[in-house]
Symmetry: C2
Amino acid sequence: MTETTEHGRPGRWRSGAESRERILNAARALFRERGYGSTTVRAVAAEAGVDPAMVFYFFGTKQGLFAAATEMPTHLPGAIESIFTDGLDDLGERLVRTLVENLDASDRAPLVALTRSATTHDESATLLREFIEREITDRLAALVGTPDAVWRAGMVNVQILGITVARYIARIEPIASAPVDELAARFGPLVQHCLTGPPG
Amino acid sequence: MTETTEHGRPGRWRSGAESRERILNAARALFRERGYGSTTVRAVAAEAGVDPAMVFYFFGTKQGLFAAATEMPTHLPGAIESIFTDGLDDLGERLVRTLVENLDASDRAPLVALTRSATTHDESATLLREFIEREITDRLAALVGTPDAVWRAGMVNVQILGITVARYIARIEPIASAPVDELAARFGPLVQHCLTGPPG
């Protein structure tokens, strides 16, 4: 039997938008089923019936695919990447500035949806947790490299979550209305203190 | 016309549970309509058709009434109260310990419901924000008393929101499973640094 789309065209002629949607559906199913760490781009491509190159074409990286599948701001993974490229010096201020600049520039709706979803569905909370652990905690801890590195990374995660919730969800002043520069000046040193300050 | 309850009994004979429910409904309506700051216990009592003493009997304080109306853990307002009674010394550790001990001991469902509600309804977010500003930010800022006191209080709010979301909503390790003592030892000094450390 020839596979057909809703519009009756054969599958191999389906449009880019249709392929993209199939990839996203496959990604959501596999991330849910296997978790973030065990889901590969290759497996998602196979499940969606497309070439892995098409997944990379649409979403860049596995993180980008995850961001799109969970409706996270899609440029956030790239922004996270840029934080880790210049080592520990000034990482605190770089992290706060990158986080706030990117979330300020993005549509808030997906962030709100992700938070709501994480409070409603254990599956979403698990995925979000695994993403944060792989993409932020583990990489920060590796950079810090001290015996208490996992704790230091955890304390940085608390800053990220706290700033995000205070500015975009609860909208608590003076966090909600402060310019990026002021947030970077206030929270940058605090994040740096978490990373490289004297052990607690 | 004689007011009757669902069970047909005259209003003045209604049970404690019925009165409590009427008070909560009146409180929800007035908090929504007037905000947290402008809603008085007297006005809620009048709206519910009960004596103000009955509101205090059921809910202790306006904060307690707010906690019940928004399904916040009901002992949280009393716990917040206890943080401010011993001045600035060791306030950081006292705050983290009180927050975590109380939330650990409580049913998580209301906290999750409050967070979900704050991401779904602007009204809930506004109320939550006003409660935090009146009951935490303003009081911390008054205690600190420096020109940058409002920022210091805001940074403490970020710690509170971040720890709460990391431990109970996103459940990120090592924050999620750490014993209270370790959290107090790690985050207590950080909160104290926000309050009384060198200006950022």
